[in-house]
Structures are given as structure tokens and as C-alpha cells.
Symmetry: C2
């Protein structure tokens, strides 16, 4: 039984939920579920956040249905939680006030590909791998790649990024326009398909990163990139994590247009070796990829090699073999799972700070020292070309003191990042986990966010308890 039936206020909620469930059951018998297993699956938060189940799950197939369901929920003030693949890391899909999970995974049509404009339009349940498989013969690809094979709707909702962001940007830069059902049940489209516009407020960017708190995405128009003529890359070990960070800083500052530059610390290298069957040297390592013409990737590799050598690192073991490269990047994408495999049965406490690149080495080394001083185990990896890194603190669920220490560690990490003019979350989003840091990060700007939320969702039915709190 979800938490939604436990208090006086929630009795009203529950009556509303009953009404919504009854109405939907009649119309969509086989696509509405109130079973415990399905509800639990839709609150599987992947991390230390305790699961808070929705009261029911609706498997949507069209935008019209979502409009209808949102109007119904709005009439009964029943919370709505949009669900893609459930791979978010901050409890985004939890239902602290119960309500209806709207699962869009069946809305996975690729609506159109406009190859000549380098854009495509997809339904929100399409995953990034599905899209890239579909695009394979066009010479184009969609570059944003968080570890998981997430839905593009979810990626837009959390403003996701990943390993290619240093060169291709994040979801912020690659969603050209989107459609969403707003809390009043009306579907809007945030922008036209033109590459640029000055026609009023930028609703596209307002919705990207809104984590389902302003509306439910029903369609996304995305920018595509040309598959590079030449791809070079490999791994490069360093004597210290500081040296690896400094190599990253120099690479960015010299303007080398690196496509991927990923830090993997020695503990994470061990985990990758064991989980993904690699035999990398156990040392702080950069995973790299360069995109361009044959000449330009060769030039980039050489320039980076010089930087690495100067810092005592290297050699860069480059591989032209696509299969070896693909195994390497699969290991990188699986790092969350390989990291967790270091302590089977434990939970993961994901951190996600991002700082100006000039402060990266300082921030990473301080985190590493703090980790040791806190008697915590946490592999470190990151999209360091953007100044973004993750310490995945591993937490024994039977040791409440360890969870406290992990929380305190995360708090100090964020404090340091904020003091460096960084952010508490570079790509995971706020969800439930980072809410307490928004006041320090944003100050009075948080009130503007609250005003926007109230204006668009006055009854607070859209993913309540995320980004801004109900009673703010």
C-alpha cells in the first residue's frame, strides 16, 4: 500500500485516486494496473532513495490519451508521474503522494527523420539506442548517451548528457522543440523546427530539465549530427588522478575538439576489468575519443599524446578496431553497474557535481581525500571535459551509519562545488535527492522557479515532491 493512504489529507487523495482508477479501468482495462509488482517496478529508484509507489500505472499509447488522463487526474487533483525507462538516479519517479504513473514506453514511434535538416521527431518512449539503430543508414546519429539506454523523453526531462557532451552538448543543446501535455490537459508545442528563433519565451528550455513537474512530454524534435568520417580513441593511464584531471584541463583549454574524455579512477578501473572483462592497467585513466577527418583525428591524438607525456601519463593506447572500441565504451556505460558490483547487495549513492574546468583537479582530489577520511568506498568517474564527475558511494543497506556518512560526504562535496561556482547536479537532475541543495545553489532564483511552477501547475499535480517542494 502506498504512502498516499496514511494521513488525513491523503484520504481525499485516495478518493480521487479511486475515481481516476475506476474511470480508466472502464476504458483501458488492459493498460491500467494497480498490481503491487507493476507499481513497485515504476518506483524502482536504482539508488539509496526508498521506493514510494504510485497507486496505479497507466500505459499510454497516444498523446490524446495522455491529455484525457491528465484532465481526469487534474479534476481529482491526483498526482501524475511520467515514466520512461525508470533509469533516473535521484528518485525522480517516486510517488511520495501516490498518484498515477504514466508509462510512455509504448509510445516509441520514430515520427519522422528530416535528414536534410539534421533533425528527427520521436515519441518520448523511444530510447537512445533504438533511435541510433534506426538512423544507422542515414549517416547521422544522436550523440547524447547517458549510461543507461534511457528513453529520450526521460533524458529530456532530466536534462541528461553523458560522454559525448563535451563536444556535442547535452539534452539542453539537442532538443529543438517538444510537445507536452500541460497540467490543464492541453498539449502544447514549444517551438517550430527552425534552427533558431526569437519568438517569445524559450519554453523548450524551460521544459527540458523540468523532470515531469510542468507537463508530460509527448513528442521531441531532436538535432542530429553527422557520423564522423574518422573516429580515433583509446585509454591513457596517469600516475595520479590529479595528473589525469590536469591533462583534461589542458586538452580543453588548448581547444582540442575532443569528443569524449572520461575519467575512470583506479578503483573503477578494477571494477571495469572484473565486470566487463577488460585488462586495463590499474591506474587513474582517461577514456578518450576523437572525431573528425583522418588527418584531424591523427592531429588530435598527437596533441593529446604530448599533453599526457608532459604530465607523466601515457602512452595513449589507441585502437582503430571498432569492436575493441565498442567494448571499451560499453564498459564505460556499464560503469555504474560494475562499480556497484564491487560490493554486491549494497546500494549506490550517486553524486554528480560539476565545476568550472579550471577547478576540476582541486575538486576531484578533495573528494578523494574526503572519501578516505570518511571511511567510504566509492569509485570515481566523470565527464571531466565538462568539469562533471561522479563519486558512486557504495552503501551497506544494513549500516545506517554508513548511509549517514555517505550523505554527509555528498553534502561536503556539493558545498565545495558550490564554493567553486559549480552546481550540485551536472546531469542527473534534482529529483528528491538534491532538493535540499537548491536554496544554497540558487538563492532568490529558487523563488522564481517556485513562481513558474505555481503558475503552470497551480494544483501541484505534476510529479509533486521534485525540484520544488509542494509547500514551498
Amino acid at each position: 500500500m502506498s504512502q498516499a493512504t496514511e494521513s488525513v489529507e491523503d484520504t481525499t487523495l485516495s478518493a480521487g485516486v479511486d475515481a481516476v482508477v475506476s474511470a480508466l479501468s472502464v476504458r483501458y482495462d488492459n493498460r491500467l494496473s494497480t498490481g503491487e509488482a507493476i507499481r513497485a517496478q515504476h518506483a524502482n529508484t536504482l539508488t539509496w532513495h526508498p521506493a514510494k509507489l504510485p497507486d496505479a500505472v497507466f500505459f499510454a499509447e497516444t498523446a490524446e490519451e495522455i491529455g484525457e488522463v491528465v484532465r481526469l487526474c487534474a479534476a481529482h487533483k491526483v498526482p501524475i508521474i511520467a515514466f520512461g525507462t525508470g533509469t533516473s538516479l535521484e528518485g525522480h519517479i517516486n510517488a511520495p503522494r501516490g498518484g498515477l504513473s504514466i508509462d510512455v514506453s509504448k509510445m516509441n514511434n520514430i515520427v519522422e527523420v528530416n535528414a536534410e535538416d539534421l533533425t528527427c521527431t520521436v515519441e518520448p518512449g523511444v530510447t537512445r539506442k533504438q533511435l541510433n539503430d534506426y538512423l544507422r543508414d542515414t549517416g547521422l546519429f544522436f550523440p547524447i548517451d547517458p549510461g543507461a539506454d534511457a528513453s529520450l523523453g526521460g533524458m529530456a526531462a532530466t536534462r541528461a548528457s553523458g560522454t559525448n557532451a563535451v563536444r556535442y552538448g547535452t539534452m539542453r543543446d539537442n532538443v529543438l522543440s517538444l510537445k507536452a501535455v500541460m497540467p490543464d490537459g492541453r498539449e502544447i508545442r514549444t517551438a517550430r523546427r527552425a534552427k533558431k528563433t526569437s519568438a517569445g519565451y524559450d519554453l523548450t528550455h524551460l521544459m527540458v530539465g523540468s523532470e515531469g513537474t510542468l507537463g508530460v512530454f509527448t513528442e521531441l524534435t531532436l538535432k542530429l549530427s553527422g557520423i564522423p568520417e574518422s573516429i580515433a580513441g583509446g585509454v591513457c593511464p596517469f600516475p595520479t588522478i590529479e595528473a589525469a584531471c590536469n591533462a583534461t584541463i589542458l586538452t580543453i583549454q588548448m581547444g582540442i575538439p575532443v569528443a569524449r574524455i572520461e575519467l575512470v579512477d583506479e578503483l573503477q578501473v578494477e571494477a571495469c576489468n572484473s565486470y566487463s572483462k577488460l585488462d586495463l592497467k590499474v591506474a587513474p585513466t582517461l577514456f578518450l575519443e576523437f572525431h573528425g577527418t583522418d588527418a584531424s583525428t591523427a592531429e588530435q591524438v598527437a596533441l593529446f599524446g604530448d599533453i599526457a607525456a608532459e604530465l607523466g601519463g601515457g602512452p595513449l593506447e589507441a585502437s582503430a578496431d571498432p569492436e575493441a572500441r565498442s567494448r571499451l565504451w560499453q564498459a564505460r556505460h556499464d560503469a555504474y553497474w560494475s562499480g556497484r558490483s564491487l560490493r554486491p547487495g549494497w546500494e549506490a549513492f550517486a553524486t554528480d557535481v560539476c565545476v568550472p574546468i579550471s577547478r576540476l583537479a582541486e575538486c576531484v582530489t578533495a573528494a578523494k581525500e574526503d572519501l578516505e577520511a570518511s571511511d567510504l568506498v566509492g569509485p570515481i568517474l566523470g565527464h571531466v571535459g565538462d568539469g562533471n564527475f561522479h563519486v558512486t558511494v557504495l552503501v551497506d543497506p544494513d549500516d545506517p551509519d554508513m548511509l549517514s556518512r555517505a550523505k554527509a560526504f555528498s553534502g561536503r562535496l556539493i558545498e565545495r562545488a558550490l564554493a567553486m561556482d559549480g552546481t550540485c547536479t551536472g546531469e542527473h537532475g534534482v529529483g528528491e535527492g538534491k532538493i535540499i541543495y537548491l536554496e544554497s545553489e540558487h538563492g532568490p532564483a529558487l523563488d522564481v522557479m517556485r513562481a513558474v511552477k505555481r503558475a503552470i501547475d497551480p494544483d501541484g499535480i505534476m510529479n509533486p515532491g521534485k525540484i520544488v517542494l509542494d509547500n514551498d
Copy 2:
């Protein structure tokens, strides 16, 4: 006397204005002006929009002063119009309800340059040329260049772009964070200086392009780019405007990373030759620039040359001489003025549609045909790599029928652009001129914009009559 004293409602306004003017006169005697000439200068709309003067002009020097003045205006519900250089083209700085123009041109300090992070922080009155002069020795530059030497605050407010946008993006992509005094007088900062973030709603992008209707910018943190090692470029004539557009489409679709690709039609070439003392062949022409290493710019020039030849155009007359190049681009930036010089004493009716690149040739040729059918004179130029072009219709102020024909032409141009999934304004902004098209462009999304405006500026004091109308 401004329009603000003409109606019953405006009597209240006027009393409010009197109170604000009295209070500010005491404190800032020499920086508050109610003189006709100064007020007229602050409503100089450059185009066909009739000037609507503010009641007074305040020359701000600090963010604290702006906070104080906004609180004062808010208390008396007096409209506030932020003013940078006054080079916007859609009546953005008009004061249809009177009020106080806040001139930020004295706030022109460069606060800091973080060369190692490729960012800088400036006050809103810094102009783009001032910033680039300042950056000269750092190896970095700020790429966004609308024709005018506009203030960076104004450029952010209108989401400006210009000739480099095809490669470097627009103000949307190059403002990392900003500070603004909001309608309640509080100053907010929209984001930290980290390159990416997922920490809540994207207020940076909400404010960029808000045209002073949500707050007054007091500081901007901008992304900088490295000055390319090699710059190549020149002009390339084509037999028809369609061929020039098709060359642009192919260049973009082939992924040539062109830095500038500007269409100048034969009439505009004539104007440039005469006004800027050039001797270009009178033909539809592309002005081009390629950035990279010596090898890569040579490669780009060769690839483009092949495309041009295939379409019957060329040769690309490239010049390695920086001075010749600079004369060429100055002529391009002065095109608004050279275009107007074709009919001295007439006014300009600027259009600004932007369409998906695949529809560019079709949209430009239809505009050209319509221009002739409408018996109008209008040179055409555009940032065609983005699908954005301007027909600068020249209008005899003594011929009201000509202005009507220009308005009708502009309306049809926008209708065609919208039918091609384009936008009514690629970079000029809405101001007063494009308001009537937002309903067609955005549909129900316009209501969301209205809700955001009401939430942030409930009394409608920030630049009223722009983007969303007061009585919406």
C-alpha cells in the same frame, strides 16, 4: 508629452510617474532626465514603428541602483523599459504606456575574464566590440555579431545572433548565466558558472530572449571561443538567388563547418558597392568565412568551391588579407544602412523569418516573387546557413498605402515561413512588431508564456506591450 497621460487609467500612471521622478530627482539629479530630446533618443526605434516616448530616463550605474529603482517603480506600478544601445528593430524600447527607461550604457565594466574556463562576466552595457577589443590579447573572442555594435544585455534580451551563429550558435547558446533584477526588486542569478547543470528550471534560457519583460539584466556570464588559427573566406557570386540558397543547403548538409555563410541579393550588392565602396559583381552572392587550421580551411574552401561550381556559381574569390576581409564584413554589418541608403529618407520594414534549411530556397524565392508582385523595393540578405533571412522593405513615410503593402507582404512571408515549420523571427525578437503572429506560431503554448509572465511580473510593469500583451 508621452501617451501615458492621455486616458483615465493613465492619470493614475502619471501620478505614479510623478512620484517616481520626484524621488529619483532628489537622489540622482544628474542621472535622471525628463527632457524631450533624451526621451526621444530612448524611443528611437530605427524602423517603421512610431516612437512612443518614456516619461523619464534613468542612467543606472550599479545593480543596487536598479534594484532600488525597480522597487520604487513597482510601488507605483510605473512601467520600466531597459535600454542598452537602442539598436533593436521591433520597437522593443518603445514605451506605449509611458514609464521609466533604465539606460544601462554606463554599466559597461568587464567584471572578469576566466580565460582558462573560456568564460567572461560583463555588465549589461558592454558592447560586443568593446568586449572583443578587451579580449584581443587573450586568444579568445565572443562570436555573436548582430550588425550593430549592440550592448550584450540587449543582445541577450532579444536572443540576438548574426553572421557567426551558423557555427557558434546564438545568444541562446552563449549566455552561461546572468543576473537580473526582477519585478519585485530582488536580484537573482540564474545559474552557476559550470558548463552544464541539471539543477532545476533553466532560468538562464527563460530570461534570454525575454526582451526586458521579466526583469532587467545586471550582469552576464558568456562563453568565449578560441580565435581560429586560420581564417579563410571571400565572396562567391551565383547566377540566381535559388542557386545561392541551394549552395548553402548543400554546404550545411555536407557538414562543412562553415563559420559564416551570408546571402546578399543583387540589390543589396549594389547598395554595398555604393555605400561601402566595394566593387563586387552585381549578382546574388554568398559572403563566406571558414575557421580552422590552415589545412582544414583549405579543405573547406575546396569543398565549397566544388558545390558552387556544380550550381553554376563561383569562383569563390578568397582573400587571405585580413584588411580586405575586414572591409568586406564591415560592409556586411553595415548592410542595414546601405540597404536604407537606396531610398534616402524612407523607413525600413525589417522582416526576419527563419525556416528549416531544406525549405530555404523555396522561401527566399517566394519572397522575391511576392516583393515584385507587391511593387515593393527590398534588398534581401540573410544568415542563410541557419535558414534565416531578412527582406528589408523600404517604405516611403508619406505613402501610407506602401506601408500597408509592406505589412501585408510581411504577413504573407510569415505565413509561408510558419507553413514550412519556421518562425516569424529568427533573431530580431517580438517587440511590438511580431506580437500579432505569436498566436499562429505558438497556439496554446502562448498561454503558457502568458502564465509565466503573470507569475513573474503580476503587475505587468516590465516592458509592457512586448511579447505578450497586457490584457492577454
